[in-house]
Amino acid sequence: MSWVNAIIQGILVGGLYALFACGLSLMFGVMKVVNLAHGDLAVVAGYIAIGVITVTHIPVLWSFLIVVPVMAVLGYVLQRTILQGALDRSVLATLMVTFGLSVVIENGLLQFFTANTRGIGTGLALVSGSFSIGSIQIGYLLVVIFATAVVVLLGLQYFLSASRYGRLIRAVADDKEAAQLAGADYRHVFGIAAAVAFGTVALGGIAYGMYAQLAPTTGTDTILLFAFAAVVIGGLGSLWGTLLGGVVLGVAQQIGAQISISDETLAGFIVFLAVLALRPQGLISRGAQS
């Protein structure tokens, strides 16, 4: 039964990884920005959530109503300023800039909030409670996070396929010069895409803060790595691939943990490396069929 349990827990935690991964995938797919600060931005969102909850006393779950818009605006502004500035030079420059951003955020958080870990909503029934099916205990929180991930991916899919800006985002990703000739300001469209990506990362940060503990270094040593692994396993540029990648990563980790608790992270990265070696385009790949 413990193996079944491991697989179920793995699948559910995959939803959390998908929340991290979809924004990373979107930004790479649209502006070819590999955002090395992605994990740190999730942590920033988590800290903002803690601040908002402390100050306004709004229910923990509703904090996203403030944090997501704040992060979206931050995403738009960062994209229109330093990220676009880097893009105008070269794709490589965006790596340097986002790496620099990551260092700045991490040290800024250390400076102002110390290295202590913080949780969001610890003690809430939702966070610590669980229900059981047979002998398997399932936490409410992971179910909520997984459901959130599915809703976010459905929302993203709808936005990209059916809305005006979603269409422009796909057009700009295909050919930004041709989009300019059609009257589209691709910088603005990039900004919108970044806003959406940052909105998803905000949800990821809040979810992680409830699921585990946030510290200034969590962004790079955990979130960014898992997000990358999920994107690569699932297939770059594929929205639902991020969920599949997250689930595969999560299941691998939980099975690894069953073998030995110290093998949890290792097992995840073995799968990651195996996919890179055997199927570098990822499990779901957009362009591989054609």
Binding site: A171, D175, A179, L181, A184
Partner: protein, 259 residues
């Protein structure tokens, strides 16, 4: 078929599009060297020339994709030299780029919708595009990259028309297409012009350009070698101007005429 195929140019009034002493560099290379032209409303103005003559560079500079080293682009009397391509497109300078450049992962209809997103007021709607190019409606949900070259070119034209341009820039429509397809696409021009459009086109295929144009302008290595109506220039003159043969340039704008 065009406004005034072989007659006089409507030289009176202000030109819709004017280029003054344009100099454009690609790095060290002087791609355009003092080009001037005036396009009047309703004209089909053809720029001809061999590969590397600077035709596409000229068109792309007018669309705003290249910044000139010197000179200016005027649209409806206003200087647009400093405007970004998307601003120019919204004002009515719309280009069909070389190589079609459709949004390959979008469907035919989505390509058209993008073209209509920032459209000016005007006669073109997606419905009208479907009426004009009747095959397009039933294939509107197909991905653009699945279409043949000629079909893609037609969608690219449709996408540009949906912006309701005042001047349509056509860059090498014939490139990579079978002659019969090229014929068909150029055959649609009168229909498009009937909606009150001015066309500035770049074409390597001289006979095609002479057939549709009301005015031709030949470039050679970034300079003007010949200008005039198709009726006013002889085949020998065109050949000399096109290839840069000795004793060329007896046209209305010989080399070195710009100050």
């Amino acid at each position: 078929m065009s406004a005034q195929p072989n007659g006089e140019r409507p030289e009176s009034g202000t030109p819709l599009l004017e280029v003054r002493d344009l100099v454009v560099h690609h790095g060290q290379l002087r791609a355009l060297d003092g080009i001037s032209l005036r396009v009047f409303p309703g004209e089909v103005y053809a720029i001809i020339g061999a590969n590397g003559a600077g035709k596409s560079t000229l068109l792309r500079t007018i669309a705003g994709l290249h910044s000139p080293t010197a000179g200016s682009v005027l649209f409806d009397g206003k200087d647009v030299t400093g405007l970004r391509p998307e601003r120019r497109a919204r004002q009515g300078i719309v280009m069909v780029p070389e190589g079609r450049r459709l949004f390959g992962s979008l469907s035919v209809e989505e390509n058209l919708q993008v073209g209509a997103t920032f459209a000016r007021e005007g006669p073109w709607t997606i419905e009208r595009v479907y009426e004009t190019f009747d095959w397009m409606r039933e294939r509107r949900n197909q991905t653009a990259s699945q279409l043949s070259g000629g079909e893609q070119q037609t969608v690219a034209i449709g996408r540009a028309l949906l912006a309701n341009p005042r001047v349509l820039l056509l860059d090498e429509l014939s490139l990579g297409l079978a002659p019969v397809v090229v014929q068909r696409i150029y055959g649609m021009l009168p229909q498009i012009l009937a909606a009150g459009l001015t066309v500035l086109l770049v074409e390597q295929d001289v006979s095609q350009a002479l057939r549709v144009a009301s005015h031709i302008h030949c470039l050679l290595e970034g300079r003007t070698t010949l200008e005039g109506t198709p009726a006013s220039v002889s085949a020998d003159q065109v050949e000399a101007a096109y290839f840069g043969l000795a004793g060329a340039a007896p046209g209305s704008a010989p080399e070195g005429s710009e100050s």
